[in-house]
Amino acid sequence: MTLGASFRIALRAMAANPLRSLLTALGVIIGVGAVIAMVAIGQGARRAVTDQVQALGSNLLTVFAGQAQIARIVRGDAVQTLNIEDAEEIQKAVSGVTGISAEYSRQAQVVFRAENVISQISGVTPQFQEVRNFRPARGEFFTEAEMRSRAKVAVVGKTVADRLFPDTEPIGQRIKIRGITFTVIGVMEEKGATSFTDRDDIVFVPLTTAQRRLFGVTHVRTIHVQVASAQEMPAAQEALTELLRQRHRLAPHQDDDFTVRSQADILQTFTSVSQTMTVLLGGIAAVSLIVGGIGIMNIMLVSVTERTREIGIRMAVGARRRDIMLQFLVESVALSVGGGLIGIGVGVLGSRLITRFAGWSTLLSLQAVLLAFAFAVAVGVFFGLYPAQRAARLDPIVALRHE
């Protein structure tokens, strides 16, 4: 018997009981859908992080105050080891450095008339624009002179502008941060939101203003260092580390009191985290596929019992054991393939809905779709094998006499 003939028999058997076929395939549908959606979430998170890190600017080294743990950056003012002089010295003494941006950021309330928002207040230097590749869309950024004079000027991010000034022109308005009045001189270009942060929910003020007028500190939290080319990164990182150790008077046995990370480091950390997450989520989803396979096996066993007489008839007119085997195997594979195809639809649709309603970015990968589908087919073969074997081993006479 040909595969085509087996396939037609299988389709007829499935069509005879459409609801049962659908319910049988449901496990595989959910399994395949879950694998696809879970992997899409994991991959989406990874891409979001990648985008975010790349948006920092190119060939960037980031110096954090204190010893940062993997994927965890010390927040708050517990560590005050970096200051603006460190930044200036790095620019002067380390070769290959084309720009630095020292930053001190903290959450604070921003008030405009009756409106107020809690937003991130970032004290930065004018160089920030080049180093981080983030510029005002309208108005302007503050100048070196404003920086030196601790001017009370602010450049707001798109989100803040939209919330505080829904129908007024932001530029020229006066806003209050921690009781101090600032003049808005610009609105930043839109960077967009990622899974984790809204990069437009931010207000930029001169670093000196942030340190002295707003928060009363003298240190900075991060220094972004732009290097001329990727090739110069390792040397720059080494020189920078040596320089800071000297400036901080660290003895050879003492650990660094700062952490230098390149984009590659940060990417790698997040990538490995999200990779683990993807594998974990995909693995859990794969378990549901196996459960789906057991559902198929169960129904196929029922089907073999119900159709014992049919098997007897087929054997009486000349079906060989392997013809019977093939027939039932094709049927279970057809169930799992059908379930797999519907599951792909469910997974793709599910990913879209997750993005739409939960706001998580998802990334469909062809690999995950193919893998889930192949797994579904394998499940159909594996769990169809035993029932098919049982059908094929029936004795023709016993099968024919079956009621």
């Binding site: 007897g312 009486a316 007119v317």
Partner: protein, 237 residues
């Protein structure tokens, strides 16, 4: 050489330690083109004998030569092939596949034979039993007699040497039974060997040889006495 040669065939069923001697050593030779009726009381071993002749079951002891080949030595695959190419079955309860149109039921042996011109041959077989117009009908849409005619078309579609019919008219009224026997008569005239189980004398009268079973043994085996009386079929009754 005979088409069928059965020597000292025994069949013992063992169930839960109880042995049932369904056949206690039967010997039989059937020549090509014969029309044989197997008769005898219920439980005398007729169906058991038919199943063995039809290669659906294996004897416990004895030999069975079909076309000179000892069938008892063949494997499952070879037996399936024999059932497919050399034998056609007609059962009392028709045994058509449910939810499957008549034409596809008739096609079934051809599917397993891997034949190419399946549809045309199945249609020709259906036409020959007078059901060409009902090809698309499901078994549930056909009367008992029509279902049995579809079953006969299925039995002959692969041009078998032998047709085995185990009480083919058992579920039918007498006039419908007459139509079925008319079909078997015609097949017999075409040279197909027919072995028929029945316990009705007027059905058996269509055959030219009567084999009588009792308690798993053949107690008589003789030519039919008055073939001419019933040869014209049930119209006379």
């Amino acid at each position: 050489m005979s088409l069928i040669t059965v020597r000292n065939v025994e069949k013992i069923y063992r169930m839960d330690g109880v042995e049932v001697h369904a056949l206690r050593g039967i010997s039989l030779a059937i020549e090509p083109g014969e029309f044989v009726a197997i008769m005898g009381p219920s439980g005398s071993g007729k169906s058991t004998c038919m199943n063995i002749l039809g290669c659906l079951d294996r004897p416990t002891a004895g030999t069975y030569l079909l076309d000179g080949t000892d069938v008892t030595t063949l494997g499952d695959e070879a037996l399936a092939r024999l059932r497919n190419r050399r034998l056609g079955f007609v059962f009392q309860s028709y045994n058509l596949l449910p939810r499957t149109p008549a034409i596809e039921n008739v096609e079934l042996p051809l599917v397993y034979a891997g034949a190419v011109d399946r549809r045309a041959r199945a249609r020709a077989a259906l036409d020959s039993v007078g059901l060409g117009a009902r090809a698309g009908h499901l078994p549930t849409q056909l009367s008992g007699g029509e279902q049995q005619r579809v079953a006969i078309a299925r039995a002959l579609v692969n041009s078998p040497a032998i047709i085995l019919a185990d009480e083919p008219t058992g579920n039918l009224d007498s006039s419908t039974a007459g139509e079925i026997m008319g079909l078997l008569d015609r097949l017999s005239q075409q040279g197909i060997t027919i072995i028929l189980v029945t316990h009705e004398a007027d059905i058996a009268a269509h055959a030219r040889r009567h084999v009588l079973f009792r308690d798993g043994r053949i107690v008589s085996d003789e030519p039919a006495r008055s073939r001419t009386v019933v040869a014209q079929g049930p119209a006379q009754r």
